[in-house]
């Protein structure tokens, strides 16, 4: 027992205790999150092995594909379009200041979009839209005790709720990443042409794109597509209380998902840099 004579010592002790408790809580949450992830894969295996739709709502996968994919199209198009325009504008502005040579803009931008900005920005946008949606749905079900009702009728919540969303997210994030990249690049091209007079033939240039860039896009999209629903489902299942609990779950899913996207992006990019020996 620490000597609480000095108020300063006690304050420090409390601070350390608090930090320790927080670290333990974070560790516990991380372990739980990993468990949900593993359970999701187990659920997928079960789903594939079991041909008949036991405990699985009909057409749920299709509904999720629609919900995650089709309903995000406009959102992704708008957000990535705008930022594509901004990035091109900024880049051209700087080039005009320094070299005046726009010949590389299109080709370099395409490379960056494919290997990084496309999947990452799509991932960030989906972390907010899809992550919040999943956490909100599952969270509301948790606080209105529908999850318990599921368990009592012999259905695993993970199989029923998270697996279809997981599969749908994997597929759709990839599709949307490609879509987003196309929109971003095209929007950038229009900006380059109308604000800086860059020749479109010069801009639309795929010469700098290598196979490894496309591989990076696929890896990142799949990583983000896997992380977002798992984090969101995890937060949803942990919701407690009533409306406040749902609010918390949704908030946590958005931050958790966004942060996961940024960290995964960094890790994958760094790994790629290491593997290719410094040549991106």
């Amino acid at each position: 027992m620490p000597d609480a004579e000095l108020p300063r010592a006690r304050w420090l002790h409390q601070r350390i205790e608090g930090a320790g408790a927080a670290a333990l809580a974070a560790l516990e949450a991380a372990v739980e999150l990993w468990r949900v992830y593993v359970a999701t894969w187990a659920g997928i295996v079960r789903r594939v092995a079991r041909r008949r739709a036991h405990g699985r709502p009909r057409g749920e996968l299709a509904r999720q594909l629609y919900s995650i994919g089709n309903r995000s199209l406009v959102f992704i198009a708008v957000t990535l379009g705008f930022i594509g325009m901004v990035m091109t504008y900024e880049a051209c502005l700087q080039l005009a200041r320094v070299t005046g040579d726009f010949s590389q803009v299109g080709s370099q931008f395409l490379r960056l979009i494919i290997s990084d900005f496309g999947p990452t920005l799509t991932g960030l946008m989906l972390a907010t839209r899809v992550g919040a949606g999943i956490a909100a749905e599952i969270g509301s079900m948790k606080v209105t005790e529908q999850i318990d009702a599921l368990r009592m009728s012999g259905v695993l919540p993970i199989d029923y709720l998270i697996v279809p969303r997981f599969i749908a997210s994997l597929v759709m994030t990839l599709v949307l990443a490609v879509f987003g990249a196309v929109v971003m690049y095209t929007a950038g091209g229009l900006t380059a042409k109308y604000s800086f007079g860059v020749n479109l033939g010069l801009y639309f240039d795929a010469s700098q794109v290598r196979a490894r860039h496309v591989v990076l896009l696929v890896i990142k999209a799949i990583a983000f597509g896997a992380a977002i629903p798992v984090v969101a489902g995890f937060c949803g299942l942990r919701a407690r209380g009533s409306s406040e609990g749902v609010g918390w779950a949704t908030t946590a899913a958005v931050i958790g998902g966004s942060f996961a996207v940024i960290v995964l992006d960094f890790v994958i990019s760094a790994a790629a840099l290491f593997v290719t020996g410094g040549d991106l």
């Binding site: 957000t79 705008f82 907010t128 919040a132 909100a136 609010g247």
Partner: protein, 262 residues
């Protein structure tokens, strides 16, 4: 057991969606007008203002600092190899730094802020609305806009600006760390590159974007909070709508501001 309705006919769906978006934009603009009116009066509850400043700042600093570190590192990863290939290592700091200060910093920080503080704010306000606390305020002849919304909007804007300033600096640090650790670029090269090539204007450009972002995130977050309908389910939907609206506004404002201020 999903909450989505079955897919409607495509045209009808688009029409209905467009109407809904128009209605929301209208509502948000109306709320903005009310907030401005209250600010001008001035009808602000100062206790609530300080309470919110403390709460929001406290909550968001850790996540923003972490994000900024990674964002800075990312920018270096993207621009560094390219710059090195052309032997222009002296420009490495400029390349990464420029992207960070003007674009990636403010945008990523705003997005994280929207997730951490904006979503939370919507959740709080919508819980209050659903439990009739908002009606309770009106029944006591206390204007919810002046008491709840305005202090939160102000607090969010001020907090985001402060966070952007801090975050930008942390991101530059992150950029330098990654440059050193992974690209073998010297600390001094990076810092000199920052100092020589980045103008104060670049820094400020990012900061006044954050003022606009802060306003957009704050008003849309409050709007979806107070117009919520329907219990726990409604709260989830409100938070969802708020973060989506914030993301779109950030991108849209970024675009407008970049074009307008060059």
């Amino acid at each position: 057991m999903t909450l989505d309705e079955p897919p409607p006919g495509v045209i009808a769906g688009i029409g209905a969606g467009a109407l809904r978006v128009a209605q929301e934009i209208g509502g948000i603009l109306l709320l903005t007008a009310e907030v401005v009116r209250a600010l001008v009066a001035p009808r602000i509850d100062t206790r609530e203002l300080w309470k919110n400043l403390y709460k929001m700042g406290n909550r968001s600093v850790p996540i923003v600092v972490l994000t900024a570190l990674f964002a800075g590192g990312l920018m270096t990863l993207q621009t560094g190899p390219f710059v090195k290939k052309f032997g222009a290592t002296a420009l490495a700091g400029w390349a990464a730094g420029y992207a960070v200060l003007r674009e990636m910093g403010p945008i990523l920080i705003a997005l994280m802020f929207s997730g951490r503080v904006g979503a939370n704010n919507t959740a709080e306000l919508s819980t209050m609305t659903v439990t009739e606390q908002l009606d309770g305020l009106r029944a006591l002849a206390i204007d919810p806009v002046g008491f709840l919304v305005v202090p939160r909007v102000l607090a969010m804007m001020v907090t985001l600006v402060a966070l952007t300033v801090i975050g930008d600096l942390v991101a530059l640090l992150g950029a330098a760390v990654v440059a050193h650790a992974m690209l073998d670029i010297e600390w001094s090269t990076m810092f000199h590159s920052f100092a020589d090539n980045l103008r104060p204007f670049d820094f400020l450009h990012g900061v006044y974007k954050s003022i606009a972002f802060g306003g957009a995130i704050a008003v849309s977050s409050c709007y979806f909070g107070v117009t919520v309908r329907g219990g726990a389910v409604g709260v989830g939907r409100a938070v969802n709508a708020a973060v989506v609206a914030a993301a779109v506004s950030i991108m849209l404002l970024d675009f407008l501001l970049t074009y307008l201020t060059g």
